[in-house]
């Protein structure tokens, strides 16, 4: 089921780019997105995908909130922390996880370790020992 998400993604980009819903265009889009090779061998479950996609939607207002916070109160201190990744993630879901963390302005993923954790770079208001 999650394999369809790949197809939907390609078709969405195609229709947004061409802005044309005629039969010929739909046919071209569907054909090309079916013909393009699919890389993911382990797509993950649909539930995981839906939850992560929902988290992306929630992250947008969160990102603006953090942006205003660091504009109003200066965050001068930098720390590097280690966060645990969720277990058994497919590459696509890992990408979305890293995207989520890096998208919010206070945190940036510096490195992902194979053993299942991230190095996250944060900025903070107060020095933490």
């Amino acid at each position: 089921m999650a394999g369809y998400l790949n197809l939907i993604l390609r078709l969405t980009i195609w229709f947004l780019l061409t802005d044309d819903l005629s039969w010929a265009n739909i046919l071209i889009g569907v054909t090309v997105s079916l013909l393009l090779p699919r890389g993911a061998t382990n797509p993950g479950t649909l539930k995981d995908w839906l939850r992560t996609l929902w988290e992306v939607v929630v992250a947008i207002p969160q990102a603006y909130k953090e942006a205003f916070e660091i504009m109003i109160w200066p965050h001068r201190h930098e720390v590097v922390t280690v966060d645990l990744a969720k277990p058994r993630r497919s590459p696509g879901l890992l990408f979305l996880d890293i995207f989520l963390i890096t998208f919010t302005p206070k945190t940036i993923v510096q490195r992902y370790r194979e053993q299942g954790w991230y190095e996250v770079h944060r900025i903070q208001r107060e020095e933490v020992p």
């Binding site: 780019l17 603006y64 995207f99 993923v109």
Partner: protein
């Protein structure tokens, strides 16, 4: 009303641009500046494009694509730059 909203979005975006780009001139670390750029270039530009979207709604497919590619590419570029500019200290032996 829509005009006012659209100007608000664009002005907020411009404020983000200036605020986030200004630290580039300072002497902070690359990663610290990257946090500023993520405010300026991702969130600021997204605000500007939303402002344009409110003004010219008939061009929505292009602008939505612009929003999506802005969010994804800038964030991933932030990650790649952070990854490449820091030394691998080799915790994993």
């Amino acid at each position: 009303m829509v005009n006012f909203l659209s100007y608000t979005c664009i002005v907020v975006g411009l404020v983000f641009w200036y605020w986030g780009t200004w630290p580039l001139l300072g002497q902070r670390s690359v990663l610290y500046k990257l946090h500023g750029l993520s405010v300026a270039d991702t969130l600021g530009s997204m605000a500007i494009i939303v402002g344009l979207l409110l003004r010219i709604p008939q061009e929505w497919p292009l602008l939505v694509l612009a929003l999506i590619s802005l969010a994804i590419w800038n964030t991933v570029l932030g990650y790649v730059l952070a990854y490449c500019s820091t030394e691998d200290r080799g915790y994993d032996g």
